[in-house]
Subunit: 165 residues, 2 copies
């Protein structure tokens, strides 16, 4: 009986620790090996959003392309010295720039992708974009995307795009 | 005695929960009110790095300006269509661009700052930069910075800068 009294609280404490570790996970400064499966899952989800965006652009479907962005008035889009705020304004900017009179969308390719998972619901994506137009001309540059896991899934909440000179 | 036996394990469990909550903190999708004091502290630390950078630039001290960046070969710097990798290469780029023959550093102002704390060791900073030169000309644009809390403190691990046309 003496032994039982001694062991039980210790056992309970161990169970409590195990349960709570599972619930709250590590919050250390760098992502540990324990995060690897979750990080891989996040990377895959982000990659899928980018693949879907590229495919949508190349079908000329800007609304489907915009599905990769957070559908919020707080979405932010930076390009050159110009800020665009909100999902609708970002769609309008794309329409004006690539579907306006005498404009064409071209063929979009993303390359040199780096998807860095910062934690369970934040990722930073770096990459290069290139557009090829019918006349053989190209445009391109770099982008940095801040992805967050929102109720709809992983979405771009901030996009900073720059163009090569 | 019966009561004491019943209460002690429950009390231990409560203490264990309290201790573990303090150790591991919340990992919910959005930052809660409970994170506010920690977020304010992080914001303040990030703001201090940016203030120090602006002051260093305006003294013509590029090395001190570079103290805001992660001193690592993995630091990344994007501008236009050009990638620079590593702390030393980033310093060399600044030197060439602003201290080369016939160049001047100008007076730097950061404005329209938005510091978003993603979690305990990641923050996204958006802002506008402007340089004023002796002849009255200006240059400027936008930047997005990914700050991480590294052993030295909060540092820029990735900088995406773009210039207004």
């Amino acid at each position: 009986m003496h032994n039982e009294l001694q062991t039980r609280p210790a056992l309970r404490a161990i169970v409590a620790v195990a349960v709570l570790l599972g619930m709250f996970g590590p919050t250390t400064a760098s992502r540990s090996a324990a995060d690897a499966p979750a990080d891989d899952k996040a990377k895959k989800a982000v990659q899928e959003v980018l693949d879907a965006q590229q495919a949508a652009w190349n079908k000329g479907d800007l609304e489907a392309f915009m599905a990769g962005y957070w559908k919020s008035d707080d979405l932010s889009f930076y390009s050159g010295g110009e800020k665009t705020k909100g999902w609708q304004a970002t769609l309008d900017r794309y329409k004006k720039k690539y579907q306006g009179e005498g404009k064409e969308m071209g063929t979009l390719t993303f390359s040199e992708l780096d998807i860095s998972v910062a934690n369970a619901d934040n990722a930073i994506v770096r990459g290069r974009w290139q557009l090829k137009f019918k006349d053989g001309k190209t445009a391109g540059g770099l982008y940095t995307l801040w992805f967050r896991k929102v109720p709809d899934g992983w979405r771009i909440v901030h996009d900073h795009t720059s163009k090569a000179d």
